[in-house]
Amino acid sequence: MPAAPPASDAGLLTIIVDACYVLAGAALLIWCGVFLVRIRQLRSAKREAVAEERLTGLVLDQISGYQPTPGIDRFGSLAGWERRLLLRVLRNLIEQTKGRDQSHLIRLLQRTGFQERAFIELARGPAAQRQAAGEILAFFDDAASIAALHAARHDRDRGVRQTALRALLAKDQVSSLRELLEQLDVSPQDPPLSLAEIFSQLPARLHPEAIARLEGGQLPPEWRRMLAIALGRKQVLAAFDALAALRHSPAPRVRAASWVALAELGDPRVGDFVHEGLEDESPDVRQAACHCAGKLGGPSTPPNLARRLDDPDWWVRYQAARALLEFGDAGRQLLEEHSGTASEEDAGWQVLHEPEDRPHAG
């Protein structure tokens, strides 16, 4: 047997063993570091809780005019983390008051220099503090706050920009929808649902532009869908033609949104053409059209709906049956004629018998 077995390449093996020791040692050291950081965080969490209580007391003292040691600015030398906490305290105080009390609090905060602090944070603080300052300034209606929010629309952080834009939108300070959409910087293909929320807050002044954009077809389909439903929910009657035109969109989701929006809008003129949606090739669109027909259909609608009771898609049949019930005795009679002797699996039978208040997919 040889003195040293052939696979004992000492140099390489030593490197491998040493590398493993180094890696395991490094991981243990990192863990110890995390351990220490965690302990610091636990301590700072306790410290923050105490500081938050103290700052709340100081803010309330300041706005009520109580000064135990006159002439000393107790907020002048706050550390960075205390400034962050101060913003949280201010926001909590504002959010916890309602109506006239809130307006009074805002005026007091303005008079006692807290609004000024929010301006400074919005201009110079880190991103999270800029966003918090923007949320606070959203409650102020004076020109200086609006100017500061306008400036924040061009912030490098998207969160701060969106906070400023939402605040300005609520104050009717956004000059155009085009500008809003450009600055929101959301995906054209897969926009977040928060865009739907923003559309639902559009002030009346921007409705004509919104309608023009729906008609013009410059918006990506998903944006159009969200805008259409928002306008329908806000019952912007002037949008009727634009919403009705969307029923010819090549995208099924947009066509379905058109019927949902028209149903929400409540304009009875939709009864003249709702039968078109009932014949759409997409089951989602037919479902939405059934819902719309149930709400706004005219005397000629029930027979069209009754034909949908034989639709190949179960959910279209179900929605058509629900819509028929909206037509009172006439609709119920049609439904009973069709489904009275059917089995439990029949969509019409279900609508006649099941409880009303469940969500339904489809």
Binding site: Q189, D190, E345, E354
Partner: protein, 481 residues
């Protein structure tokens, strides 16, 4: 008579085999290191997203997507009522709970119907996802968001399909009846769907082990590390699996498993994929792989994400026998899925999933145990026979053990950074000790169970095996708070 010296060829063969084993181990751990780096990057991105704003705004938003919780229950009489009560307190604006009694032999159905005073309703829905016949549908007049379906036994996937057929919301969330969801978990899991409503089709969250935690009213109210070794090892193991493996796969959009205990899906996508597949014990992985296959074939821009923070708590086995049954079953499930979808393996037509996602499973979970076992048996044997030096053996075990410690410690670090939960110094020390100690015996046992699972798959063994649980919240933590 003196023994003949061994021929040189034997030494050469042993050396080659030894170096091959060591090289493959180093390669495997190198890949783990790559995954760890990706996991850290993905976690940093997630935290950046979270800083943009709280998920709480969804609460007040009209556009928040509704969620149907699908809760399959089979012989869960002891825990089901408490778990439904806990689900009813979740923080989310629009959700319903659909509990499916999968032909239980105990009093599960009676317990739920009596506890919630449910009435039979004539509710029928089409069955796009195949399932066994429904015996009855029950609900409470005043709680329309709780639906109870009593059906013939058909297995977990069958029960999930039945619940899916009755789901009324666009998102569905499979939840095990013996698991507990964090109060805010639905909000956190729904957040990516709010941000990317079009392209996202599924989101998985972290499963954490509740052994040792204080549970009250169906909620974990005091987190604590268990004092028993087996659950402690499993905590480290789960953190490694979720926070290193799944987080890194999520970054590459190659997530192949969303745990059946907690995952949020777009209902339409699951129905398009045909629902959960019957006859497999790996129904959760099977569904995800089917979704990848379907959306790849459509050429769609889709995403399946793992988000660490939504947390679901589960009870880990505390005995070796139960743990062994669980692990062999998981391994069988994995083998079944890989076998069913073998045409996707290394196939560029199936995109990253075919080239990266599934091959990683083959390497780590299918070949890995054999490689590990070969190393554990052969290298000491060769050393005893004098075919390899002691230094070589030391190098091999250094790679296996020290690298294992390295990965486990990094998983703990990721856990602290992503989940931010440990609040006691003693728990942190216990977890660190667990991360070191699991490399001496526990990991080796797992290797054997995995190989046993593969053997069971080859023998076409079926069934789930009995999982004995004591029930969350029935025990108090061993130590004082």
């Amino acid at each position: 008579m003196p023994a003949d010296p061994l021929p040189a060829a034997v030494f050469t063969a042993a050396a080659c085999l030894g170096w091959l084993t060591l090289g493959l181990a180093v390669l495997q751990y190198g890949l783990y290191t790559g995954q760890t780096v990706l996991a850290f990057l993905e976690m940093r991105r997630n935290r950046k997203e979270e800083r943009r704003g709280p998920a709480g705004w969804i609460i007040g938003a009209k556009s928040s997507p509704g969620i149907s919780l699908l809760v399959p229950a089979c012989n869960e009489e002891r825990t089901i009522v408490q778990n439904i009560r806990s689900l009813l307190t979740l923080r989310y604006p629009r959700y319903e709970i659909i509990v499916v009694n999968d032909g239980s032999k105990d009093g599960t159905a009676r317990a739920v119907i009596e506890a919630f005073k449910l009435e039979r309703v004539p509710l029928r829905r089409p069955h796009p996802a195949p399932c066994q016949p429904i015996r009855g549908v029950y609900r409470h007049r005043d709680h329309p968001n709780l639906l109870f379906i009593d059906k013939e036994n058909g297995g977990k996937s069958d029960a999930l399909n039945a619940a899916m057929n009755y789901a009324g919301h666009p998102l569905v969330c499979g939840v095990d009846a013996d698991s507990l969801l964090d109060h805010n978990s639905l909000l956190k899991a729904a957040r990516p769907f709010v941000e990317q409503p079009h392209s996202l089709i599924a989101v998985g969250g972290t499963i954490r082990i509740a052994n040792g935690c204080e549970v009250h009213g169906g909620m974990v109210i005091n987190e604590s590390a268990p004092r028993k070794l087996l659950p402690l090892f499993q905590i480290v193991e789960y953190l490694r699996a979720f926070l290193i493996a799944r987080l890194s796969l999520s970054r590459m959009n190659t997530v192949a498993i969303i745990s059946g205990a907690f995952g949020l899906f777009k209902r339409s996508a699951v129905l398009d994929a045909g629902g959960y597949t019957h006859g497999t014990v790996g129904e959760d992985m099977e569904l995800i792989v089917k979704l990848h296959r379907l959306f790849q074939a459509r050429g769609a821009d889709y995403k399946i994400l793992f988000v660490p923070d939504p947390v679901c708590w589960t009870e880990a086995p505390e005995t070796l026998a139960v743990l062994r049954r669980q692990r062999t079953r998981w391994q069988r499930g994995l083998c079944e899925v890989l076998w069913r979808h073998r045409d996707m393996l290394f196939n560029p037509r199936h995109g990253r999933m075919g080239v990266i996602g599934l091959p990683l499973f083959v390497l780590f979970d299918l070949l890995g145990p054999f490689l590990d076992l070969a190393g554990l048996l052969l290298i000491p044997l060769f050393w005893i026979c004098g075919l390899l030096s002691f230094k070589f053996m030391a190098a091999f075990f250094a790679v296996v053990v020290l690298y294992g410690v390295f990965l486990s410690m990094l998983a703990l670090v990721l856990g602290e950074l992503a989940l931010f939960r440990t609040t006691r110094k003693r728990d942190m020390a216990l977890l660190a000790l667990g991360a070191i100690a699991e490399n001496f015996g526990y990991r080796q046992l797992n290797i054997l169970w995995r190989i046993e699972g593969i053997w069971q798959f080859l023998r076409k063994q079926k069934g789930w095996g009995e999982m004995t649980r004591t029930g969350l919240g029935r025990k108090q933590p061993a130590g004082p708070a």
